[in-house]
């Protein structure tokens, strides 16, 4: 029987868990107060989730993103389950997109429908939860800001997820 070094096994586990750990850190960073309260701020966690689905789909199974969404919901005051809905749908779309994983332009273009879906799903869920019509302008502005800021936010994340890839 072939025995592996415990340090090697731990390293493998850490590499496998790295994307989920980074995404958890992003959830905390996204909660930090900013002086741009009235301006549309790009969705850092959504960008991270998409980047992880593109670069490391095997390390971010749908259940992990579901749990991540619930964590973000508990950290905020949005309806419980809102981010879980969004990330499950994003996983469903991002892992099925016909995007060449080595073309940044295609990855960026692929983020457009993902940001639109995330904004629409979140907006619809909040409207149904409160049973009121909510102006969609801030959601559209945020989705647009996320797409525009994608190269700045996603490039380091794509590199990071690629760097922490598990090599058996």
């Amino acid at each position: 029987m072939l025995y592996r070094d415990p340090a090697q096994i731990a390293d493998g586990w850490l590499m496998r868990a790295a994307p989920a750990l980074w995404l958890t850190l992003l959830v905390l960073i996204a909660a930090l107060p900013t002086p741009f309260d009235q301006s549309p701020v790009p969705d850092l966690v959504l960008t991270g989730v998409y980047a992880a689905c593109i670069r490391r789909p095997e390390s971010v199974p749908i259940a992990v993103l579901f749990a991540l969404g619930l964590l973000q919901d508990l950290l905020s005051t949005v309806p419980f389950g809102l981010h879980a809905v969004v990330y499950v749908l994003v996983h469903g779309l991002a892992t099925r997109l016909p995007v060449a994983r080595d073309s940044f332009l295609q990855i960026w273009l692929g983020f457009v429908p993902v940001a639109a879906l995330a904004g629409a799903a979140g907006w619809l869920a909040v409207c149904l939860h409160h049973m009121v019509w909510i102006a969609p302008d801030p959601v559209l502005a945020r989705s647009a800001a996320s797409v525009i800021a994608f190269p700045v936010l996603a490039l380091p994340l794509l590199w990071l997820f690629g760097y922490t890839r598990h090599v058996p």
């Binding site: 960073i29 930090l32 900013t34 508990l74 389950g81 809905v85 499950v88 979140g122 939860h129 959601v139």
Partner: protein, 291 residues
């Protein structure tokens, strides 16, 4: 066309692959339905979710506190740098404001003396002295779908649910959930916020309802006459959640048909808040679905 016969191993492998794909699809559909169901039934019983939110707030508060310090310092440094160019203009504005405030101080001094005299005359009992805790904001836990903040004080610091939260300019919101070491503040702009208010010198009653936008709207006016644009909006104290007279903002006409309130608080510069305990616990929670 003749199909190539498969070995038992290949058949098993093929079957496992199909089963895996079906399981993944089922988990996708199942989790999507489960998450959507949580959103819809989340309004029915919020006690479990509130308890979990308090626990998460307690656990994450030290991390958020640590992370927010360097960020706050960086913003402060950036603001200092960006204001260097306008120091002359700022100095001139402050001189003018100082002259205006000196005049107001004299008026306030006279009013204070008059107020003290009237209180003595009426043997007025001002009631218990309010206790307050000032704290730094460690997280902006809202976003486009909710408006809330997290502060690093909790039940061990005497914080209770529903206590009003103030900034230097006026009302910010109220305490929504309390952990041992952290609390979450529901802002007056949140969709769940419904505050009874008094408008202008006539103290006309209305309800201020949050919209998740910067300006909450006014509804359910007690009388038919329209409010005056620019009139000051204060808490009315109706319902017992807020003490009467806490400043909120000014009335402005809505582009549509109604009226809105422009809060005094500058949300972009909100770093510290004060949580005030006026003694008596709130009697009624008017913020539907917020507790």
């Amino acid at each position: 066309m003749e199909e190539t016969p498969r070995s038992i191993g290949e058949t098993l492998d093929h079957g496992l692959r199909i089963a895996g794909r079906v399981l993944q699809r089922l988990s996708f559909a199942g989790l999507a339905v489960l998450a959507f169901g949580l959103v819809l039934i989340g309004k029915i019983d919020t006690r479990i979710v509130d308890g979990a939110r308090s626990t998460i707030a307690d656990v994450t508060a030290p991390v958020l506190d640590g992370l927010s310090y360097p960020l706050a310092s960086a913003y402060e440094w950036f603001q200092d740098i960006s204001t260097i160019g306008g120091l002359m203009a700022e100095n001139r504005r402050l001189r003018e404001e100082n002259a205006r405030l000196a005049n107001l101080r004299l008026i306030a001094h006279d009013l204070k003396a008059e107020n003290a005299g009237l209180r003595r005359l009426l043997r007025f009992d001002p009631g218990p002295v309010a206790k307050s805790v000032s704290t730094r904001i460690i997280a902006d836990t809202g976003g486009v779908f909710a408006r809330s903040l997290m502060v690093h004080v909790g039940s061990t610091h005497g914080i209770r649910k529903h206590l009003p939260v103030l900034a230097a300019e006026g009302l910010v919101g109220r305490v929504q959930t309390v952990g041992r070491q952290a609390a979450r503040v529901l802002l007056l702009t949140d969709l769940n916020s419904k505050i009874p208010v008094a408008i202008g010198e006539q103290r006309r009653r209305a309800i201020m309802i949050g919209t998740n936008g910067p300006t909450p709207r006014l509804e359910f006016f007690a009388s038919d006459t329209d409010p005056v644009p620019g009139a000051i909006v204060l808490t009315s104290g109706d319902g017992g959640v807020f003490r009467p007279g806490l400043p909120i903002g000014i009335v402005e006409p809505d582009a549509g048909t109604g009226w809105r309130v422009r809060p005094f608080v500058d949300w972009d510069r909100l770093d510290f808040v004060r949580i005030v305990d006026y003694g008596a616990p709130p009697k009624v929670d008017l913020a539907q679905g917020a507790d």
